[in-house]
């Protein structure tokens, strides 16, 4: 046997490669079928980063569709409620540069909660149909109200209201939401030597 390998080195090499390639190819083929991933894992990961406001400002009907679009190559800077933090997280996940927020789709605003002025509500159920998270409670010709804890502040209920009785109330900082902030940037950009600081600063 070693005899003919020496006699036909080319043939032997060919055989050896085919002999290795065939079983490994079969193995890979089997693995591809046996261990197929269900769904789109990257879209799931993207969806977990998106703020789930379901506002549609990105141009897609909800966060999940936008996540799938991003997985398919859509730009990552179309989510105003998520803002810079979401863009940064998406950029980290997808290993791309973080672009600034696309202003076409709106700007980053403070979180707000919808509030229905209840004595003006005519009970038309239009806002109920518009709410993407079923956070509005009511029935036809009955006054509607917003479940504040479930409201994502997506603004979608404001537009359909025929009597304009829905306000978006920005959430103000209170004792529960307050927290320490990082020290002001200023304190780090001072002159290297403390004595170089302006005299007023030194006196303070």
């Amino acid at each position: 046997m070693p005899g003919w390998i020496a006699d036909y080195p080319l043939l032997a090499a060919l055989l050896a490669l085919v002999g290795l390639g065939a079983p490994f190819g079969a193995l890979l083929g089997f693995a591809a079928v046996r261990f197929r991933t269900e769904g789109n894992p990257i879209a799931d990961q993207i969806n977990a980063i998106l703020p789930q406001t379901q506002c549609g400002q990105c141009g897609f009907p909800g966060c999940r569709p936008y996540a799938e679009a991003i997985a398919g190559g859509e730009a990552i800077n179309k989510c105003p409620p998520g803002g810079e933090a979401t863009i940064q997280a998406l950029a980290d996940l997808l290993d791309v540069e973080a672009p600034p927020l696309d202003e076409e789709h709106g700007e980053e605003k403070a979180k707000a909660v919808a509030f229905i002025r209840e004595d003006e509500c005519i009970g038309c159920t239009k806002c109920i149909q518009a709410c993407p998270v079923d956070a509005i409670l009511g029935a036809a010709k009955q006054m509607h109200t917003v479940i504040a804890s479930e409201c994502t502040g997506c603004d979608l209920c404001v537009e359909p209201c025929p009597v304009d009785c829905i306000d978006m109330i920005p959430q103000e900082e209170n004792l529960q939401t307050w927290h320490w902030q990082l020290p002001a940037q200023r304190s780090r950009n001072l002159d290297i030597i403390a004595t170089d600081a302006p005299s007023a600063e030194r006196a303070a």
Binding site: Q54, V133, E150, H179, P183, S187, R188
Partner: protein, 577 residues
């Protein structure tokens, strides 16, 4: 003599304790108005049970616990509830919070109190309930509800009870003076805690810079199971985890609680509050507070009613407002600036510090980190402060958690040693808060996602049902048309018209004559019945009626079909005859 262990790091800042130790505890008296924040503890805020205008007696409960981890609130003196509204409270944010305001009537009339004659006859759960009802929250500074801490996790047995008399933070002497003057009360309180927890050993840890306190405690504890342990002064020995390591040599695991090691830690002030609650039925309505700093004439310790405005105490101590640059609650290391002297003394106010600018100068501007590593040497939690600092600057929250940011006790030792004066603790506090907020927001967005998906599913299902209805209607129409097309079969509509005509004709035929029913062939009658039932079936499928009804209708249709086939067969037979 018990072996005393050490802990990593620590610093030796100027103690500045002698100023406020010159005199005995002074009773501050009753201010005109008391402001009682509903949340003076960790956990859910208390819920008011009095209304504006009510007269309350000293020690009467004015707010009930707002949850399991919560404590009630009691009136510190008799008077009238003048308001339940938002007032400034001692909090670093400076935000106001809901408070019950009591205008004192000066009579200081007690509500009837019921102490326990002999606590040794009581079950632990009974005593814990009394402690909870007395509104006791940790007096060392954190304010965690004491009853919850003592109850621990179910099935956990406590080996060691540690009483914290360390008071390592500069300036504060509230515990020191309490140990000096009320050592007997502390020992009595510890005996109750001992009865509740049944520990194998009781260690009372005191730093060696308080020799008078140690002497008083040793005299009071003679003959009891309490072992007074003195150990070298170092900041922050009074941190719960640090004290445990000093006294037992054990480290509380990261993310764990002392209870996991069979250890419970309580402050000396808490022990006294427990004694008052159990032996006298007296709820927590006052505490010892140090008022000190160079801006007051006579720094000293006060026994002060909760809710007393800080201004009242500062006036008693002789404050020079022009010398006082800022007001600090707590000590210079871990305390925070109080925005207004109108803020009240709460259950966790161990010290009010009114320093002059020379005494506690504003920190010089921060300079870049030079990686000297002094902070890592000083950190009592064995963390890497400079790494945490870099990550906090870059907002790398994942890295921060990997580097155990949440084990940071915010003692300020790293900032104290930093030659670049970087406010490190502020970075850690901000980052911790940011991470917690992100977690909360993530939980909320997860909830929104679930609701959105549930709604999508519901809409899809509704659409599907509509589609099914449409399909069923279409199928029924097709069937009818097919039925009409089949030769010999009469169109159901045509048949109905015929029937109506026949009826009309019969009516017109005359009054007296009996209406002879149009005798249709049995097949035609059956066919009509069948068509009717089929129509009904299609309707009920389309309108999504109960499955039972649908199946019953199907059975009827089948039966009619069979009968029709039989009748047709019979007709052909008779025809053949």
């Amino acid at each position: 003599m018990r072996r005393v262990y050490g802990f990593h790091g620590g610093i030796h800042p100027a103690e500045n304790k002698h100023q406020s130790l010159g005199s005995r505890i002074r009773v501050a008296g009753i201010p005109r108005q008391l402001i009682l924040p509903l949340s003076q503890h960790i956990g859910a805020p208390a819920r008011p049970v009095v209304a504006v205008g009510d007269r309350v007696l000293k020690g009467q409960m004015i707010a009930e616990p707002g949850g399991r981890v919560s404590v009630p609130l009691h009136a510190p003196t008799s008077g009238h509830v003048s308001a339940i509204e938002e007032r400034p409270i001692p909090h670093p944010s400076g935000f106001p919070a809901p408070c019950i305001v009591i205008d004192s009537d000066g009579q200081d009339e007690w509500a009837p109190l019921r102490g326990v004659a002999n606590y040794r006859d009581c079950e632990a759960t009974e005593l814990l309930e009394l402690i909870r009802n007395a509104g006791i929250a940790g007096m060392g500074g954190a304010g965690f509800p004491t009853a919850i801490k003592l109850a621990g996790k179910p099935g956990q047995s406590i080996k060691t009870l540690i009483i914290n008399g360390t008071e390592c933070e500069p300036y504060i002497t509230a515990d020191d003076i309490l140990m000096r003057e009320r050592a007997d009360d502390i020992v009595a309180g510890i005996a109750i805690l001992q009865h509740i927890l049944q520990p194998q050993e009781i260690l009372l840890g005191v730093e060696d810079n308080k020799p008078e306190a140690i002497a008083a405690l040793q005299a009071a504890a003679a003959g009891s199971a309490i072992e007074v342990v003195r150990f070298p002064t170092k900041y922050p020995s009074g941190g719960e985890k640090q004290l445990i390591e000093i006294l037992t040599g054990q480290q509380v695991p990261s993310g764990g609680l002392p209870g996991d090691l069979g250890i419970v830690c309580q402050n000396v002030g808490t022990a006294v509050a427990v004694r008052d609650a159990i032996c006298h039925g007296r709820p927590l309505i006052s505490r010892i507070t140090t008022v000190t700093g160079d801006a007051v004439d006579s720094p000293q310790n006060f026994e002060v009613l909760l809710g007393t405005p800080m201004q009242y105490l500062l006036d008693l101590a002789g404050l020079h407002p022009e010398r006082c640059e800022r007001l600090v609650m707590g000590g210079p290391m871990m305390g925070f600036t109080v925005t207004t002297p109108q803020a009240p003394v709460v259950k966790t106010t161990n010290c009010i510090l009114a320093p002059t600018t020379e005494e506690l100068p504003p920190p010089p501007p921060a300079q870049p980190c030079i990686r000297c590593g002094l902070c890592a040497e000083a950190c009592p939690a064995s963390l890497l402060p400079q790494q945490l600092f870099w990550f906090a600057q870059g907002k790398e929250f994942e890295k921060l958690e990997q580097h155990n940011l949440f084990d940071c006790i915010e003692c300020g030792a790293c900032s104290w040693v930093c030659p670049s004066h970087i406010p490190l603790v502020q970075y850690y506090r901000a980052s911790k808060a940011e991470i917690l907020q992100q977690r909360r927001e993530h939980a909320k967005s997860e909830q929104a996602r679930l609701r959105f998906e549930a709604r999508q599913a519901r809409l899809a299902q509704e659409e599907e049902e509509r589609e099914a209805k449409r399909a069923a209607r279409k199928a029924a129409a097709e069937k009818r048309a097919a039925l009409a097309e089949q030769g010999g079969e009469e169109d159901p509509i045509q048949a109905a018209i015929e029937r109506a005509r026949a009826k009309k004709a019969a009516q017109q035929a005359g009054d007296g004559t009996a209406v002879t029913p149009v005798k249709a062939s049995p097949e035609a009658a059956l066919r009509q019945k069948l068509a009717k039932s089929e129509q009904r079936l299609a309707q009920s499928i389309a309108s999504g009626e109960d499955a039972k009804i649908v199946s019953a209708l199907e059975a009827t249709v089948q039966r009619l079909k069979d009968k029709l086939a039989e009748a047709e067969a019979a007709a052909t037979e008779t025809g053949a005859d």
